[in-house]
Each structure stands twice: as C-alpha cells, then as structure tokens.
C-alpha cells in the first residue's frame, strides 16, 4: 500500500509497509498516481496516454526511478513481512500507571472529560497507602520491564501533592531492590505552583505537562476558576518560572482546542513566541456530535486547513517542537510497538483514589470498564483481554489505513465515546490525525531540502 499526498507544496509518497518516504517532482507524482502494481519493466503506453501533458521519454525516465525503488523494497512493499500475531499481547506486563491522585480540581474547565475533576464519582484525594499499593502492583505486574512510567493525574494532582511526594520517595527507595527505574510525569493546571514545588518537580519529574490553551481570550473562556474567572494571569508566570528552571528535562505546554477556537495556530504561536514555551501540544476536543465543544465532521476541512497553516508557520522554526508535527522517520519506535498502540488496559492502566483499576484515565468512572481494585486484589482478565486484542490489524478501519504505523490505531476511549465501540475509530479524530501526519512529513521534506524549487 502506498499513500500519495500534497502538503506545503510538496508531492510525497509514503510506502506504508516499509516505512520509506519519497519526495517527488510533479511529473513522477502524477505518474505514480496512475501506477497499478506490479510495475512492468517499462512505462506502458496506456499509462502514458493518461498523462498527455508529459513527454513520453520523460515519463519513462520517471518510471525507471520508481521501478528502482520497487526493487529496493521501498515502494509497493507488501505487508507480508509483518506477522499480525506480533500485535497480540498475552499476559503483557503492566509498566505504565496513570495515578489519579486527586478526583478534585481547583478549576472548572468547560471541556473536562473528568466532570470537573470528580469523574462523576465524587471528590476525593488518593491516600499514600493507595498510591503505595499502586506502585507495588505495577512492580509486581511489570515482569522483566525495567522502565516504569507513573503519571500524576487528576483532577488536579497538586491537590494531593503530599501523596505524590511520598509516592516518589517510596518508588525511589525500591528501585535498586526491584531493578526498576521510575519515570514520573506531573500533569498540572499550575494553580498551586510555588517556588518550592517547582524546584521539586524540576528535580524529580521527567516530564511536566502544563495545561494552557493559548491566548488569554481562548484560555480564559474554557479554563476558569470556580468563581468563573480566567486562569491565564495566575498560571502563565508560574509556568514560565517552572520552565526556566527545567534545564533539559521534558515539558509540554498542552492545550485543547474546541469548535470555538478553530484558529488554534495562533494559540500555538502565542505559547511558543510570546510565552517562550518551545514544546507545545494542542489537542482537538473530540466527542459525539451533540457535544457542544467537540469538533464536528463539517469542521474537519477547516481544522485541516489550520494545521496546514500552522505547518507553514513552523517549517522554518526548528526551535519550536509542536508535538504532533514531530515524527521520527529514522529511529522511531519499532513496527511491533506501532501495531499495538496505546496499551490502554494492557501495559497501561489508571488507578483511582479508591484503588479502582481502569484501562486508562479516560475510562475512569465507567463501571462497564472497571478492571479491578487494589484493595480487593481483583483484576478482571476479561476486560484486560479485550484491550489486548485491540491493534491495527483487528480494527477494520485501521487495517486499511495508510497511517496505521504512525497513529498506531487511535484512541480506544475516543472511539468508545464517539461510536460506542473501542474498535471503531472516530472519523473526525482519524481525519485530523492523518492531516497532522501529512504536515509533519512535509515539514521534514522541506527541512531536508528535498522540496521542489
């Protein structure tokens, strides 16, 4: 399977199975779009006839170049080298935890999937005892995996900062004994940041995800306090201070855009240029069509155009890392990882303050998806197995999709929320994902100097 596309004025062919990416001139691009594999030794007359605007000898020259790529296994490569069973995970170790330390929040963001922090189950903070059990649980279940990821999440996790700190201390204390290495992430809205805890995060957190939507008018419409006031002026100076002290540790300024700010390119540039956050991620609000903030199918072309606009602004700005435009074509994850996807419900689970186990943070509070409980020692294998069976080959839409090895099969929670089925990708999310990938690859092509003059 190949995928040909135009973005940022480049003509590009992606060979899905091999992972090869080629930048073509207009003539070879038009020719490739007329090719049905297998390719003959020479350009057939009936193909040349379809492209009367080009000289036959020149088309033959392009044909030979394309044929060379086929012979080098970089074009029209078959997926037969891939064994779909690689994607099937049995008894996978669990190696990543989303610790929902606080089912409570000090903001009232309008798009919050956690029902303003409480996940519909009431406000609650996680005790250290529960967090400790969660750490023991992941150590026990992680098998030979050395790297363990723990994300402090909520709600607003800083409302349970004491538990977070004790958890880090406990995990570190058993690293040597267990042979594990813990990597912590803090996802915060910034309201409770102060000099002391910033310093702590910059020492202990491998990654800090800082929630901010962009320009003041955009952020303050969605990210409001209980009293209805905007949060921008409170959080931005704190985030800037935290980032200034972070050295080369990871961070992201991370926002959400809704159908009310489809001009999100301005928000990305605002965060990068005016606020100085060089690692930026903004995510579309996805949900059912009747969700008042989710991007609708009708808005997809507009959002795609906005991604292209953003790509144009970022192509000459290698200093800005926009999460979704970063794609590693050389050393990204192996094909096996790319088949399996996010790992929700198998290598990754979320834990609530009560010690309940869910496939991931977005399923928390949905009783149909509760896998078990740390105190009861329960773990419903049936639910976990259902998630183990989710991969790009078991989902029909993904199997046929050119983006499958870059997207890895979409978000099970999004699929469930939109289509009521974890196996059925959301059309809006897919179209946006594919557009982002096209932009990302085109940026690479231009930066590598391969675009047509």
């Amino acid at each position: 399977m190949i995928h040909t596309f135009e973005a940022l004025g480049c003509h590009i062919a992606l060979d899905v199975a091999s992972g090869a990416v080629h930048v073509l001139d207009k003539m070879s691009y038009d020719l490739l779009n007329c090719v049905e594999p297998p390719m003959a030794e020479h350009c057939p007359a009936e193909v040349a006839e379809k492209l009367p605007q080009y000289d036959a000898a020149a088309l033959e020259e392009c044909w030979q170049e394309l044929l060379e790529l086929v012979k080098a296994h970089q074009l029209f490569e078959e997926e037969t080298y891939i064994d779909p069973s690689w994607a099937v995970v049995k008894n996978t170790p669990i190696k990543a935890l989303c610790l929902n330390v606080a089912h409570d929040c000090n903001l009232r963001c309008k798009y919050c999937f956690a029902s303003k922090g409480g996940y519909g189950t009431g406000r609650m903070l996680m005790s250290f005892e529960t967090a400790k059990r969660a750490i023991d649980f992941v150590v026990e279940r992680s098998g030979k995996r050395q790297n363990i990821e723990v994300d402090f999440f909520g709600g607003e996790p800083m409302m349970a900062l004491d538990t977070c700190k004790k958890t880090v201390e406990y995990a570190r204390s058993i690293e040597e004994k267990t042979g594990k290495k813990f990597r912590f992430t803090m996802t915060t809205n910034g309201m409770l940041l102060n000099d002391e805890n910033m310093k702590y995060f910059n020492e202990e957190m491998k990654n800090c995800v800082l929630s901010l939507d962009g320009r003041p008018c955009v952020n303050d419409k969605m990210r409001v306090t209980a009293g209805g006031h905007g949060s921008y002026d409170i959080i931005v100076p704190k985030f800037q201070k935290l980032v200034a002290g972070r050295g080369d540790k990871e961070y992201y300024a991370r926002g959400t855009f809704t159908r009310e700010n489809l001009d999100f390119a301005d928000d990305v540039m605002h965060m990068a240029d005016e606020l100085g956050f060089k690692n930026v991620s903004v995510e579309p609000a996805v949900g059912k069509a009747d969700d008042p903030l989710a991007i609708t199918e009708e808005q997809v072309p507009q959002v795609c155009a906005e991604y292209e606009k953003l790509a144009e602004r970022l192509v000459n700005r290698p200093d800005i890392n926009f999460f979704h435009f970063f794609v590693d074509l050389e050393q990204g994850p192996c094909v096996i990882k790319r088949m399996r996807g996010c790992g929700a419900g198998n290598e990754y689970v979320a834990i609530t303050p009560e010690g309940d186990i869910y496939p991931c943070h977005q399923f928390v509070g949905n009783p149909d998806f509760k896998i078990g409980n740390l105190y009861e020692g329960t773990f419903d294998k049936e639910i976990a197995e259902k998630f183990c069976g989710v991969n790009v080959y078991t989902k029909e839409d993904c199997r046929k999709c050119w983006a499958k090895f870059y997207c890895s099969g979409g978000c099970s929670a999004g699929n469930y929320n939109v289509n009521g089925d974890i196996m059925k990708p959301s059309k809006v999310a897919c179209e946006l994902e594919r557009k982002r990938l096209e932009c990302a690859i085109a940026i690479k092509a231009i930066r590598a100097g391969l675009a047509e003059e």
């Binding site: 073509l24 490569e77 190696k95 992201y252 074509l329 094909v335 990754y348 978000c411």
Partner: protein, 47 residues
Amino acid sequence: MKHVKTLAGATLKMSAAHGGCGECQTSCQSACKTSCTVANQKCEQSK
C-alpha cells in the same frame, strides 16, 4: 535520482528485526492524553 528523492528508507521494515522490547514510553503518557501517535516517540534501543 532526478525525479524522486528519498527522505527515509525502509526503516520500518528494518525495525522488525530488533523490535518488541517494550521498554519505550507508553504513548499516552507523553503529552496528549487523548491520542496515540507513536511516530514521535523514541526507541529505547536507539540511544
């Protein structure tokens, strides 16, 4: 080549040989918490 320039070779196919160690970051933990783009992650073997 005159008409076609290769930006990346058959890297995905080559990765099958050494892949599957499972040490790399779980995608949703990285920054977004709502999607699972993997192409932007690092392979732990490629240090």
